[in-house]
Symmetry: D2
């Protein structure tokens, strides 16, 4: 039931000549939300102390409606942890009060060390991510 929310305001820098947000920038908004969910301080410590960082391995995005200058929007994030190595962030961008998201995505992250080799996601972060797990499916009965 629980999802993480992060507010986004659309600035000039985000738009292109169509008047709408340039498509690649939605990936930035989703990453900002992930940095808030995990904590920027935590990410910095992880990188400096043990040389581990998150990297995006796969991303799937559907762009349904474009955002415009001045829009105040909300990124909603749920996380599925898949084993020790992989977390899938289901992130979507919402206009407050609407029934459908403007953009939705599934963004798969893994952890790598300084030589870009795969390492397990640190335990304490798995717990943090688990707070935003999607609800279990309704029981059959």
């Amino acid at each position: 039931m629980q999802y993480h929310t992060h507010d986004i305001q659309i600035y000039y820098e985000d738009t292109d000549l169509s008047g709408l947000v340039y498509h690649a920038n939605y990936l930035k908004f989703f990453e900002r939300a992930r940095e808030h969910l995990l904590g920027a301080g935590e990410l910095v410590r992880l990188y400096h102390d043990i040389g581990v960082g998150f990297v995006v391995y796969k991303a799937e995005l559907t762009f349904r409606e474009g955002a415009r200058l001045g829009n105040l929007l909300e990124v909603r994030t749920r996380v599925v942890v898949d084993g020790r190595y992989r977390a899938i962030f289901h992130q979507s961008l919402w206009r407050p009060g609407r029934e459908t998201p403007m953009v939705d995505s599934a963004i798969q992250l893994v952890c790598v060390d300084q030589t870009q080799n795969l390492v397990p996601i640190p335990e304490h972060l798995i717990s943090r991510l688990a707070e935003f797990a999607p609800p279990p499916p309704p029981s059959a009965t």
Copy 2:
């Protein structure tokens, strides 16, 4: 057999603190390649003369290897035109001489008018896109 190629050089602006290219920027490289394939002049005419533009509807990306400052890379593009309304760009980023791409993607574009309503892709562009169609599957015999 035929695919479109576009050269990319990695600059400071493309990197982030990991030393590798920031993930959202690969979408920019793929769009630059599409603008070359279609012709920037053609895109400008389309937009000013009949108010039609291409927009990204879906994007799927797999990030296999990160690019670094100074890398000279190549975007390769093939296009599957799917009816009158949809073109799927299969775009990948290559380090010259390698057997596998650093990043690959399927990016689905549609055309919209000034009110963001779906319109058919103009005929003359469908012909242009068809030049970069993937090869037919080998015949069964």
Copy 3:
């Protein structure tokens, strides 16, 4: 005595391989602060209703200290309105509690119409900008 403040958090997207914020991005932070000072809704109305927009004519920046991932910083803005045509935004980026700014700037804006011709800054915006005028120099006596 009065200046406008706007908070900035540094994200991955803002950094480059040096580990510090890419220099051009500070201009984005200063523009976000200007959009908050003037009001994004006001800027949108101005553009849609009378076809007038602000453009940067000159910018002078001094970069004293680089910002890093996760830094929580503050943009401080004062505005000198110079006649009907020109507003000079004195904007600086601060680490809370420090005596000197990390970056400071003087950014000169003018208003233009749809054909990029100079027009006076609308009266009601001049009043808004005047709220953030620098303090008068101390009197000589």
Copy 4:
């Protein structure tokens, strides 16, 4: 008489809702030109071998005319080396065949080590930069 030139094509990613290039992006174009002038390989070696990098200390920009999607433009660069510590890049953006630049700038760079302390510009780069020195003033006689 000699200046360095670097070609720029304007893409969707460079524009904002005004239809013109977003002001901060001109700083990116100027930096790309500097990377070509110095050589990206040289910059990478400098950073990896002796931990030295160039950073922008000051930038002054005047924006005279906005660039648009599809424009093919030229960055022209001259360099004034000022002692062992400072190089001033006079960089401007030109539309081919015009008498005045669209944007011009003076961008002051210094070298820093890994702890962000000032170090002299390496000798062999000073020679490289000197190739693009402005012409001497005409002699008085």
